[in-house]
């Protein structure tokens, strides 16, 4: 058995190693190889860096790190020379990699134009301080504080950065005090509903049972959301630490991580972390001689959105089809295998670790009166700086979209922002000063959700947008209850008709009526929130619906059935690019001559619009369609 003193020795050793890593005179090269980095080619960049340092016979540390959140600049490479701040290079290619080695490590030219910033002590001429840039400055990186800065496969890196001190703190103060601490911190569930975490724990702790379970919900299913994935990939021990503390507070000896199988890297990181934690006595029987036993099992989910719902998730772990069951009984009283069960989101658990490491007061420094702490957010859509950010609760949507996100790209006008994924609603520009907290977002007709934020610009059709989310909800409904299964189908059918120009008078009222019925009548959260994208877009953008139905016109120029592309020959320079790229050969015209689109052949793919040189801007979108 591992004693507390053994752990403290381990911790001291890890800190000493971390220290020497940064002070042994060898440069450090870190590559962001989380899923986002990998899809941008970071593994090839890593290979190129290794080859280059070998070729140049440079003695250095190279390791992989998780995601810092600057997805717009992936692949990211960090180079730290002794006594210099870390330089973060963005959009690194395998071709650029040897040049960085050659230029910075050998010739001491940091190539500032490839860098997005520095961090650490000191400044480098021509490169801004990363955390002072507009993207990072308004952020408060806490749950993500180690993400992208430590090697996620290294327990030592985690230990050297306060890791597992939350567990030792918890064991020192006892389970009741742990709940008290989480209560004082004001932590609310980060998975979506924002239920006070301590209260849920209280129910479970007080439920008499010979066995209780903790489940970490890592079934992140919202389209466009990747907060949890990044955290699991970049800092897996943080989640394990939160689970150990939560299990201890609840009196649960078994924890499950329900993680979707589409997250292979997160699963690999988790398995590695669990193995390390077991080896060092941080998981298993009698952890650090505290008398507390805790075992973590991983259950891979098959990617059903509904399995993010607690009761469906439990059914799935039990080997049944993932379908929600009515509550009560609540899982905290009768959950997995009929035993009291707590399900916490990945981020909530990471926050639990932070609260125990740093204290509830520290945690509550940020946030509003009712929404304490920070929130990780996946910022996506029509916004310049897409990526993973962490902000204090209470920041406004405007700050989020414009200051951090940089507004819509290509000079387009911002139109709306959607929070909370398929369950959330759309917020128009007029409400952009709404603070990002649970209650304010609810009041605006949407929800916090797990932290997905989708930005839309003037070219986004709100009807089409609602159709997209209803298509998702309709496909992901478990099929059990009537309002959700058949109601989302009707909503989708009507929205498809409207987008296709087949909308009928009365459809908007029908959507509203059905939407209300589905919300009121559905069995679980999926159905109860599925109409939100429709209802909020009708609420804020009713005129777009009306234009579609009555005028067969898509004001955003997005719905293919309702638009035509048209070449304005006053502006056309006759470059023939559009004709060359048209996949259906619908465009005719001579070099330097006027060009025409045959509307009967055109499929509204929009390639002509995209390829038309900016200077000319001759392709226009016309709605209603010329074909009608």
């Amino acid at each position: 058995m591992v004693q507390l003193t053994d752990f403290q020795d381990l911790q001291r050793q890890a800190m000493a190693d971390w220290e020497s890593l940064h002070q042994d005179g060898r440069p450090i090269i870190m590559v962001g190889t989380a899923t986002c980095g990998r899809s941008a080619g970071s593994l090839e960049v890593l290979d190129a860096l290794r080859a280059a340092t070998e070729k140049q016979e440079i003695d250095c540390h190279i390791f992989e790190v998780g995601c810092t959140g600057a997805c717009y600049a992936e692949p990211l490479v960090y180079i730290i020379k002794p006594d210099q701040p870390a330089i973060v290079y963005g959009d690194v290619t395998p071709q650029l990699a040897p040049r960085l080695i050659q230029s910075y490590l050998i010739k001491d030219n940091p190539l500032p134009r490839y860098s997005i910033g520095t961090f650490g002590n000191g400044r480098i001429e021509g490169i801004p301080d990363l955390f002072s840039t507009p993207v990072f400055e308004p952020q408060a990186r806490r749950a993500l504080n180690r993400c992208g800065f430590i090697d996620p496969t290294s327990l030592e890196h985690y230990l050297a950065n306060d890791g597992y001190t939350g567990v030792t703190k918890a064991f020192a103060i006892g389970p009741e005090q742990v709940i008290e601490e989480v209560k004082n911190a004001g932590l609310r569930g980060r998975g979506g509903a924002g239920f006070p975490t301590w209260r849920k724990w209280r129910f479970c702790r007080d439920a008499p049972s010979d066995q209780k379970y903790l489940i970490c919900n890592a079934d992140e299913g919202d389209p466009g959301a990747f907060m949890n994935r990044s955290l699991l990939e970049g800092d897996p021990h943080a989640v394990l630490e939160g689970m150990i503390i939560a299990g201890y507070a609840l009196g649960a000896s078994i924890g499950y991580i329900y993680c979707r199988a589409e997250y292979p890297l997160a699963l690999e990181r988790l398995r590695g972390a669990i193995k390390q934690a077991k080896e060092h006595g941080l998981l298993g029987d009698n952890i650090l001689d505290s008398g507390f036993d805790f075992h973590i099992k991983i259950k891979e989910g098959a990617g059903a959105f509904v399995c993010g719902e607690e009761t469906a998730l439990i059914a799935s772990i039990e080997g049944k089809r993932g379908m929600p069951t009515p509550r009560p009984p609540f899982p905290a009283v009768s959950g997995l295998w009929g035993k009291p069960t707590i399900i916490n989101n990945v981020e909530s658990l990471a926050d639990v670790g932070l609260i125990l490491q740093n204290g509830s007061d520290w945690f509550a420094e940020y946030g509003t009166e009712k929404s304490k702490g920070t929130k990780t957010i996946a910022l996506v859509g029509k916004v310049k700086n897409t990526g993973l950010v962490e902000v204090p609760l209470g920041i406004t949507l405007r700050e989020l979209v414009f200051d951090i996100g940089g507004g819509a790209p290509d000079g387009k006008a911002f139109k709306a922002v959607q929070t909370g994924g398929p369950s959330g609603g759309c917020i128009p520009e007029s409400l952009l000063d709404t603070p990002v907290d649970y209650d304010s977002l609810n009041a605006a007709g949407t929800i916090m959700g797990s932290g997905g934020v989708v930005v839309m610009d003037e070219r986004t059709c709100m009807v089409d947008f609602a159709r997209y989310f209803l298509d998702f909800a309709e496909k992901e409904s478990c099929g059990k209850c009537v309002p959700c299964r058949l109601g989302t189908k009707q909503l989708l059918g009507i929205l498809e008709d409207i987008c296709a120009g087949n909308g009928r008078p009365g459809d908007i009222e029908m959507l509203e009526e059905l939407g209300r019925g589905i919300k009121a009548g559905s069995l679980c959260g999926l159905g109860q929130t599925a109409p939100n994208p429709v209802l909020t877009t009708i609420r804020y953008f009713r005129d777009e619906y009306e234009a579609h139905i009555h005028e067969k016109r898509c004001p955003a120029g997005a719905c293919k059935s309702l638009i035509s592309y048209y070449i304005n020959n006053d502006l056309c320079v006759g470059c023939t690019l559009c004709a060359q790229n048209c996949s259906t050969s619908a465009i005719t015209g001579e070099f330097k001559g006027p060009h025409y689109i045959d509307q009967d052949i055109c499929t509204q793919c929009g390639v002509c619009y995209t390829v038309c040189p900016k200077k000319a801007n001759a392709v226009e979108i016309i709605s209603p369609s010329l074909r009608l």
Partner: protein, 344 residues
């Protein structure tokens, strides 16, 4: 059993502790629409039709246990609106050929629509399903039409919780959800035992017997196949048995039947039945009257009294039949050599 007093729509009723508001209402002849509820099965709250109002809050009455003093309204505006949406959605998704559907008179969907009241024009505004799904006719005794299925899950729960087999589950997700066997194979290729328990519980015409005639009357009896001795009702039309239904009150089967008991009755009316006594003459069987046959038997048997005679009674015959055969053997034929196939 403890009795609980509660009020439904102003009527005070009594119910046993532990029952649901829905069951309590139904027991007191107060109808609340419901589609996924079955008295033999645990409630699941899937159809969302049985909502009631309790202090301004909508609760599914199938999941709501009775409480002392509970004041339930079965038709508040919110409850009514939700129910209206649910039934309209169901009807818009359902085939319209009620006249040719075997379930029509027992159809719960029609029953509910009739209760809630349906505006045809509103249904017209909803989108109709596109491609019909293929009907599974593979089982000789029943068919499964997924287009009529309302996904109440009663068949799934019946097979799991009553039959203990678990042939069926929900397959696919969203509006493509259907009831299916493992791998969504036809019934005949699944582990289905054809007991028909799901068929008799289907609230619509989705799982339906292939041959169904409403009997003119029923006679309580006992199944003739195995030693379990299931209680049955034989459905009679004219001089034919046209149906078999399980007796819910009989302790031996409590409403369940197997494939033979439920569907295996047609041998009764089979053309091969012996309908007249036959006497073998010169190697050929020749039709005879009862008197001819019985006289011959009596005359011949008289020659073999004692150890030259044996009788085999029958485990398929009644107690009374068997008693008489052994009595005849012992008392008339003067031997105890009477046995039957107990050992086979």
């Amino acid at each position: 059993m403890e009795k609980i007093k509660l009020t439904i729509d102003g009527l005070e009723i009594e119910a046993e502790a532990g029952t649901s508001v829905l069951d309590a209402a139904l027991a007191n002849d107060i109808y609340i629409p419901h589609l996924c509820h079955h008295p033999d099965l645990k409630p699941v709250g899937a159809c969302r039709l049985c909502g009631v109002d309790v202090n301004g809050r909508m609760e599914m009455s199938c999941l709501l246990p009775v409480r002392e003093g509970l004041d339930v309204k079965t038709n508040s505006p919110e409850v009514g609106a939700t129910r209206q949406v649910a039934i309209e959605l169901l009807l818009a998704d359902h085939p319209q050929g009620c006249l040719s559907c075997g379930a029509s008179l027992q159809c719960e969907l029609l029953h509910i629509a009739d209760h809630i009241g349906v505006d045809g024009e509103r249904i017209e505004r909803l989108r109709r399903p596109s491609e019909p799904l293929p009907i599974d006719n593979s089982n000789p005794f029943f068919s499964f039409d997924p287009n009529k299925c309302v996904l109440c899950g009663i068949c799934v729960r019946t097979c799991e919780d009553i039959v203990g087999l678990g042939v069926l589950d929900f397959v696919n997700r969203g509006s493509r959800t259907v009831i299916g066997t493992f791998g969504n194979e036809p019934f005949i290729d699944s582990i289905c035992e054809s007991c028909g328990e799901c068929v008799v519980r289907c609230p619509v015409g989705s799982l339906a017997p292939k041959r169904w005639q409403r009997p003119s009357h029923e006679v309580q009896s006992t199944c003739v196949y195995c030693g379990v001795g299931c209680g049955i009702y034989l459905g009679v039309k004219g001089d034919q048995v046209v149906s078999v239904r399980a007796d819910r009150e009989r302790p031996s089967n409590q409403g369940s039947l197997c494939v033979k008991g439920r569907y295996g009755y047609n041998f009764i009316n089979h053309k091969d039945r012996l309908t007249t006594p036959l006497i073998k003459k010169e190697g050929q069987f020749v039709e005879a009257t009862w008197d001819e046959a019985l006289d011959l038997v009596a005359e011949k048997f008289a020659d073999y009294k004692g150890s030259e005679f044996a009788a085999l009674a029958s485990a398929k015959c009644t107690n009374e039949d068997n008693y008489l055969i052994q009595k005849f053997t012992r008392a008339v034929m003067q031997t105890n050599t009477v046995d039957h196939c107990a050992r086979l």
